[in-house]
Symmetry: C2
Subunit: 392 residues, 2 copies
């Protein structure tokens, strides 16, 4: 087990009508003026927006807002919000939405105290020293940003999508009412399932001693997501299934499934290359495609881990590790298909001649390697992985 | 899944020579004067005490101390420490030790701002409104107090041992160097193994929907403790086994294995009756005895849960739930025996005619029921459970 320094200060306020507590929660922390960040009109149509505004107004908590945030959010939202936060002297940022909205809120919170362009953090040119407090009202179980230390932002012009991590970025609280996710479409639910699973799998595949608790927790979390994910797809208003997915989202990306081990991500950077290049690819959908190509490329280097996954998640019952590993990759593909995820680059309209562009983006034109377990990938490996992603 | 409001702000600073960071950690929080709480001479013999003092002196952090804290610590230590903390105007309490020492530190921290007798909290006559910050340098993997919200103190005179819970009691940090536990005796290691397991099992046995992640995490944590516990007993200087036990201790009692469910304890109160009455019984040893009697008394009311435990922890491979449940209870007894734990009240010198006294203590002379799953226990049930604890 390696040395670590871990704390997750994010408070999870979970359950029926939890969003009704928003004003009391903000007041409990002493906040007086919030910058609210949200996406499109769905929170207005559902009444959530007006409910929150009423609660804040009732308690005398002022608010200004940034809206229209889209998936794979562009850096301009962060700049806009940062300027507004400064001009209006807010004392906290409240995200109402999913990962994209929360990441924009985090970018604003970090940019607030920084003189340069907040995207510098994402380009790893600067490190935040201080951040405004961020809270969220979660409306989709997926990214895990509500309790993670990461913030992923895109530069649409330059086709770059990049994240940074800082403990200062952990939200102060997340309000989670599973009923708010009843209206999430089957496709977006599946995107969430895929994303949540991958947050634990990225950690699982990193090097560990045998029988590490974090590995066991990662796999049981994935199993929970699969089971309750299928439940939620079958019955979108199943409270317990939606609740499990929501909590899994928060637990999968908060670092618990990597305690005591290093955990650089590899499938996520591959996917960031893909959805950075082609913005209409949903992150979770890109994850499904990239995982399969990556697994095919590397499984022989750690057949035990791939086999263990196959046995735990898919009840694969063969003794030979290599066979079990292959069966596990196929079973994962079948699972993705069963929940409506794409499983090849072809399906999202990427052709073979575009692959070198992707590989160049992800490797920083050959200056960067990604991941480490079971092997690190340089530009030529990344290209080879994308080739294995082309067809299902 | 039931509604909840969860946060665990305890920072875990884990690894090789982590204790060397103590002065930097305290300084990082801005603390200037610490009340140090510890037990007997072992931290002096090992050099840990002097190392900490040197580090604090070097950074100019003042300190006063309360020492001599014993297992099942008496309320007088809390009173003594509370008065000293007030007279000396400390701004934090640093526990160096295990659960008893940390619980005394928590009692002092809560008592600091309270006019009455701090034991009022343990008697549930008052609720803390504010607490001094507490940190720990952990020297034994067992109680989980280093990241829990609980504080158990004894009244030796009245043979009462009682705990209270408050989110204000969660330590700010815990410093965990597995090497500090190399010198923990086989017996105390086994006591720790039993205690850590029970923190997750108490939660596991409470009512849950099928496939709750918290249940899966509780059982995989227990499995981890058993495996690494046997490893540590075989090789007391196995870093990875000691590290796993230490981290398991902190994760088992921090509430993660009960997210989304209620979790009143039942075996712990039974044990508090036992070690409150007979102070020389180590908490973990008492737990082993009480668990077996309790399991024998209630298993028929939830054979599925007892059977699942048997299958996951002991690889019991029979289809019939009741048979599996019984085999699981026997396997647990064998496991306790294998690590040197007592498995009957007879072994710790309690005779049948003393049982009514224990049952009266635990039930508050018939005014209190304990636990709820699979059934709550009133005085007559408690007596019946103790009867089933008499012989192995």
């Amino acid at each position: 087990m390696i040395d670590f320094d871990y704390v997750n200060p994010t408070r999870i306020i979970f359950g029926h009508k939890a969003e009704d507590k928003i004003a009391d929660v903000l007041q409990g922390y002493g906040f007086k003026k919030a910058l609210i960040v949200y996406g499109g009109g769905s929170i207005k149509r559902s009444g959530l927006y007006q409910n929150v505004i009423n609660k804040l107004d009732w308690k005398g908590i002022s608010h200004v807002e940034v809206s229209g945030v889209k998936p794979n959010p562009d850096r301009r939202f962060v700049l806009l919000g940062r300027d507004l936060a400064r001009n209006e002297n807010v004392d906290c940022v409240l995200a109402i939405g999913g990962g994209s909205v929360i990441d924009v809120a985090k970018g604003i919170a970090a940019g607030y105290y920084y003189d340069g362009d907040p995207f510098d953090f994402n380009l790893h040119k600067a490190v935040p020293k201080k951040c405004l407090p961020v809270g969220s009202i979660l409306t989709i179980a997926s990214a895990g940003s509500e309790s993670s230390d990461s913030c992923v932002i895109s530069d649409e012009e330059k086709h770059i999508k990049s994240g940074f991590n800082t403990p200062l970025n952990r939200p102060l609280f997340t309000i989670e009412d599973p009923e708010l996710t009843y209206s999430v479409s089957p496709y977006q639910t599946a995107v969430g399932i895929t994303d949540i699973m991958m947050h634990s799998l990225e950690r699982y595949f990193n090097k560990s001693e045998s029988e590490m608790l974090s590995d066991a927790w990662a796999l049981s979390l994935c199993k929970d997501v699969m089971s309750h994910g299928l439940g939620a797809l079958k019955n979108p208003e199943s409270y317990d299934d939606r609740a499990a997915l929501m909590l899994d989202s928060s637990l999968s990306h908060d670092g618990l499934t990597a305690l005591g081990k290093k955990a650089p991500f590899v499938v996520h950077p591959l996917e960031h290359g893909l959805s950075g290049y082609k913005e209409d690819v949903a992150h979770g959908a890109g994850i499904a495609i990239c995982y399969l190509g990556w697994a095919r490329y590397v499984y022989k280097k750690d057949t035990e881990k791939f086999a263990r996954l196959a046995r735990v998640l898919f009840n694969v019952d063969v003794e030979d590790d290599e066979k079990a590993a292959i069966m596990g990759i196929r079973a994962m593909r079948d699972f993705y298909v069963s929940i409506g995820m794409p499983t090849s680059l072809e399906e999202v309209g990427i052709t073979e001649n575009e692959l070198p562009i992707l590989a160049s983006l992800v490797s920083g034109n050959g200056t960067r390697v990604i991941g480490c377990c079971p092997q690190s990938l340089e530009q030529k490996d990344i290209l080879a992985v994308y080739r294995l992603c082309l067809k299902a």
